[in-house]
Symmetry: C2
């Protein structure tokens, strides 16, 4: 027997319609590629999203057409989010930090038909367009009179010219909520990038979950600054959640330096900012250098990689900004956990609370997780035992886009590739990436633990721990170290620094000094490249 409630598919168009009807004058502020600050509101953004939909209709692009973006965070990108997905096409956000060859590969794999790009990226587009036969139209996100001249890009129009020809009258189509809405490729540190195809349903459920008090705690009273790029898992879903709650949105455009971000936070009275640790490092540097304070910012969401303890305490103790540690993946839309405390943890002393806050946190409602051993047996939630982390839920991937071969799932669970502990209260902590953990004599050594010790040494700029084959122990860790400019450090001093900081058997067998450690497109250390660099290396005594 079915219930007798109204049947409304969960669609992205409903988000923008809601924001327009109930938060018409809610502000959307963007720093633009043009350099100025642009101001609009939800009602205008909704109107222009409908013009986007009409422009795509005018081009006779069928449902499911992939419309790509190579763009910073801004109102035009936001209009594409709603106009493209709302009209039943698929928004494909491309990462402009990728190598042009990789970008072209992804455009071809996705068969993108339209590509919209910020003029910052005109050279990039000029370099790849000839390798992208599926693209029928290139749209520069600028006024008609700012269209890049002599770029050689065919079928190029300006976004404003493209929109101006269109009416803002448009009736959003109603369709199956499981329809594809957007597409994002993983950075692919190994092998080819893989596409994750989100649905309207997964996006809407994620928006509800992300806004909850135990997740990002979003309300109409917030002014949200997503520093995390809109090409990076849809800026963690913030554009959608923001429309649902009707908050103010502030977009940084291309300017992610400390000064620019600080000016935006203060000028627009931002209450919540979201981004990766490297951005906050720049921001804190700017604050410290100028003796500045925040007047309204009260919390920051940190994800992408683990938040260093010093950053967390500086935000909290010096600037009165609550740090919310969150964790997710492209394959998870991305939100999996957020580190909001329960009363039990709030009652701990400072040191105890800090220890919890450094964990990746508890699942947001809708996600479930477990840790398993090498045989897939579920491991206890004691905060000590660690194992491979698996997740499941309605906004977690089922299969990669156009994937050949088997589903990535194991009995319905997605293996995250992370190794983690979970404590009795459900707080998860990432210990390492599965592929980076060092298996030494049947025990696991966290490469991150080994790296953190090295990075605490004043002479060390960056450190990577990798496992090397060992005839007796299977693997033993070494630490690869890049020193700060002008700093000096010996192998023995580095190893001596480990004494008493981690267990003796976890101390690396060797130190290798390098000029720099290779970083990927999202700022993560490329251990695969490092391994290649160290080909032929043999452990001491082996």
């Amino acid at each position: 027997m079915l219930g007798q409630m109204q049947n409304h598919p969960l669609l992205i168009s409903a988000l923008i319609t809601h924001a327009e009807r109930h938060h018409a004058d809610g502000e959307i502020v963007s720093r633009r590629v043009e350099g100025d600050i642009h101001r609009t509101d939800w009602a205008t953004l909704a109107k222009r999203s409908r013009q986007v939909a009409n422009a795509l209709d005018a081009d006779q692009l069928p449902a499911g057409t992939r419309v790509a973006t190579v763009a910073w965070n801004g109102y035009r990108h936001m209009e594409l989010y709603f106009g493209v997905s709302g009209s039943q096409r698929v928004l494909h956000t491309l990462n402009p930090r990728l190598h042009p060859q990789q970008l072209a590969w992804i455009i071809n794999h996705a068969e993108d038909t339209v590509v919209c790009f910020d003029t910052t990226f005109t050279p990039l587009i000029a370099a790849v367009h000839s390798k992208c036969p599926t693209v029928k139209r290139w749209v520069a996100l600028c006024d008609a009179d700012k269209l890049p001249a002599d770029s050689g890009i065919p079928n190029l129009v300006s976004y404003e010219g493209w929109l101006a020809a269109q009416s803002s009258n448009y009736r959003w189509p109603q369709f199956d909520e499981n329809t594809a809405s957007s597409l994002c490729y993983t950075s692919g540190t190994t092998g080819n990038p893989k596409g994750v195809l989100y649905s309207h349903r997964s996006t809407l459920l994620h928006a509800y979950a992300a806004a909850l008090p135990d997740s990002l705690n979003l309300s109409a009273r917030d002014a949200v600054l997503p520093v995390v790029p809109m090409f990076h898992v849809n800026a963690w879903g913030l554009p959608y959640a923001a429309a649902a709650v009707g908050c103010k949105l502030v977009f940084p455009g291309p300017a992610m330096d400390g000064k620019s971000i600080y000016e935006l936070i203060e000028g627009e009275q931002v209450s919540l900012a979201a981004g990766v640790p490297t951005v906050w490092q720049m921001l804190l540097g700017h604050l410290q250098a100028g003796g500045l304070k925040f007047s309204k910012l009260n919390r920051t969401v940190i994800g992408g990689s683990a938040c260093p303890p010093a950053m967390l305490t500086t935000f909290q103790d010096v600037y009165g900004v609550e740090v919310l540690h969150a964790w997710g993946m492209t394959e998870m839309s991305p939100l999996g956990t957020a580190c909001t405390l329960k009363n039990k943890q709030l009652a701990l002393d400072d040191a105890g609370r800090l220890k919890v806050r450094l964990k990746q946190g508890r699942v947001v409602y809708g996600v479930d997780m477990k840790i398993v051993d090498g045989e897939g047996k579920e491991l206890p939630w004691d905060g000590r035992t660690y194992g491979d982390l698996l997740v499941r839920g309605p906004w977690i991937i089922d299969q990669y886009f156009r994937a050949e071969g088997d589903s990535p799932l194991v009995d319905g669970w997605f293996p995250t590739g992370d190794v983690a502990t979970i404590d009795a209260d459900g707080f998860m902590q990432i210990t390492d990436r599965s592929k980076d953990v060092i298996k030494s004599g049947g025990e696991w050594i966290s490469s991150i633990d080994v790296e953190n010790v090295a990075m605490a040494h004043p002479a060390v700029a960056m450190a990577a721990c990798i496992g090397m084959p060992h005839p007796k122990w299977d693997e033993r860790p070494i630490v690869v170290v890049a020193l700060k400019p002008g700093a000096e450090l010996s192998r023995d001093d580095m190893l001596a620094f480990y004494e008493g900081k981690i267990a003796k058997w976890q101390i690396p067998d060797d130190v290798v000094f390098v000029q720099s450690i290779p970083l990927g497109a999202t700022g993560k250390m490329m251990k695969v490249s490092l391994r290649e660099q160290l080909k032929g290396y043999v452990l001491p005594g082996v």
Copy 2:
């Protein structure tokens, strides 16, 4: 093209599984019919819910079977919420305040197969069981040795005995999320009661929306006291939302007097309490009499009927408790709006904020609303123009259970039967019930406005305004007044009291004094009965 995310139906069983896994030791505290305070936790409640499911399986009750409850708020009722719906049966919450004849009518209309009742209601069940041929099993919610003796109720078992025979191993079935989960009948002040059949999907989406910061703002840090009965639209959905966020739950059982509620709030450190104004009146009376304060309570949700201004300011100014005005209906699961302010309203002065807080508030995300005139034309959102209020959304009724005839919807919108204004920021205010509004010479007079003036008079205990036929104006208002014990008031003094408080043409044409005003099962004034009582009444001068 479909997205490629995991397919997980939104099911009520997932709520209790989540609470068990991630909030195992979260407390559930109940004042029982037995008189004592009972303590359990989410893990135990989940286990016993599975025993409920096994007990229903043992009775070979097919999917869709209606299992009814006549029960107070407590942990056993909660176990039935999850055990019945989770195992694909339909939980039918019956209102014990109904007349036995009406109760039997509803049981027969729903074809309930099992009825579970608190022993408080043994006399009620003894009075109706013989009129309920569909019921195959009666379950008294008590220990085996407390089973009512000589009740004459056939096939009667104790809940604890029924459960004790069952294993707590049970695998919740997976099925279409649109499957019926629960059933609640409207009180039916006119005609027969009508059933609203909720689905798992509508319940889960409602739980997400209810917990949002702009709705009830529920987190794992809350201790929630639903004074609103679990037989009254599922206690506003709090049992489900509580499981999703894993908060502490505190149930009042049958004791709703001020002293009992206060002791529970203080003893269990309740942070949020939810109920109707009459309950809070008793609570405030107890506080005032004893010079008491709250130590932890920081907000209260008031719904069911409009919150009197004095109650709102007393809570806020005297006791530091934020009042959240909310509005909904049985047909809406029930949440439609919550009066959380935007920054703009927060910036108002005290009087300005109070004026907004007295409105029923903004839609929770998922619901949309509009006001229309007599011809169905949408009216402006200016805070002054009022019209019939219509709503739509995924947890709003499509059709009544076993209804014959047309859908209640008008172009996909559900007419609430309320008359309301909506302001430019989306704050809705109920002006009146459509059937109660007085249509005088083409203008509408709000019966509530007329009643509020009368009730502000110190001699008046209760006042009802109703429209009487008038040859020239179509209708003119009269006010029916019940005086406080021992108080005296003349017709002319009552009418004089209106001068300057409302427009001259809105002042009633007459005053009728009565001993008491008839109230329905949910405490609302029965204007239909009042009209019958006044049959033959003629307006002065007509």
